[in-house]
């Protein structure tokens, strides 16, 4: 099959026979891709269809979409979960996510600038340490961090969930930005240096604007990660009115999951919508960012 991939310059005289030779390969390619697509999309389509089914018909039925769709699963959500409105969870999640994005953009870009653009003693050692934290299991830090935040009376606040974002602990984004800044043309900041610009000017007026793609990628990934985060809120938040969407959904599962299965399915879909919207709007940035992370690893 891969013969076709390199077949860019065949003699044009034999177009028709080349076409006939290539056709089975193309057909197999598209069939293969479509089969994978069907498997990939099935759970999402199942979720969409299920949210319009009666509770009893969701798990057992093989129909993707019900013959008689109902919307009561959605209208029922206006009752909230355990007397708390769904919108509370959304407001909490959005606040946390936006707060995280701001923190990551500021702290990681400053750190990345130092790694990429300033020469100083100890830089390589610090860079190695930073890459090392990329591989460190979060669970080693979980308990002592919890103990400290608990002693500082910060349980049930968003501080434990946000502080790390403002202190550049997400090494992945520092790394992503360092990679990007290193590839910027050096002439620009060197010319600025000769003109007497300090590092902060260069960072703010030259490097940051040029780094927009990396900043956008980091912002979207941060938003999505914060939105999906489960372990952090599970440990640090225990008053339901502080819950994020993920925790609210888990509470739904524990309290009403059996009685109101349809509502739970509808809520699951609603909880996914922001991530899906971000994906549809920014998929190019996400995929490019992901692709860059693996090169020169």
């Amino acid at each position: 099959m891969s013969a076709q991939a390199t077949d860019i310059t065949p003699a044009p005289a034999t177009t028709e026979s080349a076409f006939r030779r290539r056709l089975p390969g193309a057909l197999a390619w598209h069939i293969g891709a479509l089969v994978i697509l069907a498997v990939i999309l099935y759970p999402v389509i199942w979720l969409i269809g299920g949210s319009f089914k009666k509770s009893g018909d969701i798990v057992g039925s093989l129909d993707l979409f019900p013959g008689d769709p109902i919307i009561s699963n959605y209208t029922g959500l206006s009752d909230g979960i355990a007397d708390i409105s769904i919108s509370t969870f959304f407001v909490n999640s959005v606040m946390l996510a936006v707060g995280s994005v701001v923190g990551i953009l500021v702290s990681c870009s400053l750190t990345a600038y130092a790694f990429a653009k300033i020469r100083f003693a100890g830089r390589n050692l610090l860079f190695t340490l930073m890459i090392g934290t990329l591989l460190l299991p979060y669970h080693v830090l979980l308990i002592p961090q919890y103990v400290v935040f608990r002693n500082l009376n910060l349980i049930n606040t968003y501080t434990p969930l946000l502080l790390g974002k403002y202190l550049a602990t997400e090494a992945f984004f520092v790394f992503l930005m360092v990679q990007f800044m290193r590839n910027l043309p050096k002439e620009l900041d060197e010319a600025a240096r000769l003109d007497g610009c300090g590092h902060f000017r260069i960072y703010w007026s030259i490097v940051l604007p040029l780094c927009r793609p990396a900043l956008i990628t980091s912002a979207i990934f941060t938003f999505i990660n914060s939105w999906n985060d489960f372990l952090g809120p599970l440990i640090y938040l225990n008053e339901p009115d502080k819950y994020t969407v993920a925790l609210g959904l888990k509470m739904f599962v524990d309290q009403e999951g059996v009685a109101n299965y349809g509502g739970m399915i509808a809520m699951s879909l609603v909880a996914l919508l922001p991530v899906l919207a971000f994906f549809l709007a920014f998929q190019r940035y996400l995929i490019d960012g992901m692709a860059t992370s693996g090169l020169k690893g």
Binding site: I36, W46, I118, I143, P144, F180, A271, D288, T292, K296
Partner: protein, 333 residues
């Protein structure tokens, strides 16, 4: 963004000219340069101060604290009491802990290779220039973004339940073993399926690597009469081995740390924290149970350090093996 190879030799030459600190032989005014160097160092540390604070307060400090807790009996309310190696001997003697290790190993050993094989296979498919290629790439990547969410875990629990789609499909093929999520031995494979479903992220990285393999190599090989398989084995695989290494390393490390999906698909809080008969009791689930449900912070810290040791060992073995199978091109680093 995709053009990571472009920090080119031309610029390195330029930087050598403009930064005299490289060659101290002819430097005209060492005192001024030294002053400038000190200013640069100050600026460097100033810019990095958030990261340094974060590293000390949220990474290095907690690591040391957790190492200390690992040798204590600590329930959050009384001060930690030094008990030497008791946590470790309790851990190794605990059948539930050994079970969680076994479950996690199965998850890592089955899930990671399957996921990476699928990612590489589909990347090879998508590397061909064809109509719809970009669409497929985006669609296949999407599960990686939502796979860790509570919503998808709920869907997973449902489609792998008794009488749901997976159960009925396997019945058609004569496997009447019931739903996976209700079966202590099968539930872990529903989680394997969940991680394999997210093959898109490593696939995108493979694709980026495949794009950088020089076309001429294939053309030369074709002239020499090398078939598809030989071209893959002798050109593609060595050329993308750095990317393969990166994917193996990251996916393995991440797999060891699976938590939320196991916790939610397995049922979550209450008596059975992770699955029927602990079927999806992965390592971090048990760590959570011991630390946050049983308030055994010392024991949980010891467990966390064992996880760190395991991850460090795997990382070390992978880096050691790198010499044998990872090919870095001259100057590509």
């Amino acid at each position: 963004m995709g053009t990571t190879v472009t920090h080119a030799p031309a610029m390195e030459g330029l930087s050598k000219d403009s930064e005299p600190r490289h060659g101290p032989v002819n430097s005209p005014r060492p005192a001024a340069l030294k002053r400038r160097g000190r200013r640069e160092t100050l600026a460097g540390y100033l810019f990095m101060s958030p990261w340094i604070a974060g590293f000390l307060l949220l990474t290095a400090g907690p690591m040391i604290a957790s190492l200390y807790f690992a040798f204590t009996d600590y329930n959050l309310f009384d001060a930690p009491k030094w008990i030497g190696l008791d946590n470790f001997s309790e851990m190794f003697g605990d059948p539930r802990w050994r079970h969680s290790v076994k479950v996690t190993m199965w998850y890592v050993v089955v899930g990671t290779p399957l996921k990476l094989l699928l990612a590489l296979g589909v990347a090879l498919l998508l590397a061909q220039k064809r109509r719809g290629q970009a669409f497929y790439r985006a669609a296949f990547y999407a599960p990686s973004l939502i796979g860790a969410s509570v919503s998808v875990a709920i869907v997973w629990k449902a489609i792998f339940a008794d009488d749901a789609i997976v159960d009925r499909t396997q019945k058609v093929f004569g496997f009447d073993v019931g739903g996976w999520t209700g079966d202590p031995n099968m539930i872990i494979y529903s989680l394997v399926a969940l991680t394999v479903w997210q093959f898109g992220a490593p696939m995108v990285i493979f694709l980026a690597g495949l794009k950088q393999v020089p076309r001429e190599l294939y053309e030369a090989a074709e002239v020499d009469g090398a078939g598809t398989w030989r071209r893959f084995w002798n050109i593609t695989l060595p050329m993308i081995s750095p990317v393969l290494f990166f994917n193996v390393l990251l996916e393995t490390i991440h797999s060891f740390q699976i938590f939320s999906s196991a916790y939610i698909v397995g049922g979550g809080a209450g008596g059975n924290a992770c699955g029927p008969a602990d079927g999806s009791m992965v390592y971090t689930c048990y760590l959570y149970v011991q630390g946050f449900e049983n308030s055994r912070m010392g024991l949980a810290s010891a467990m966390a350090w064992m996880l760190l040791v395991a991850v460090a060992l795997v990382t070390a073995v992978l880096f050691w093996s790198q010499k044998r199978w990872v090919h870095y091109e001259e100057g590509a680093r």
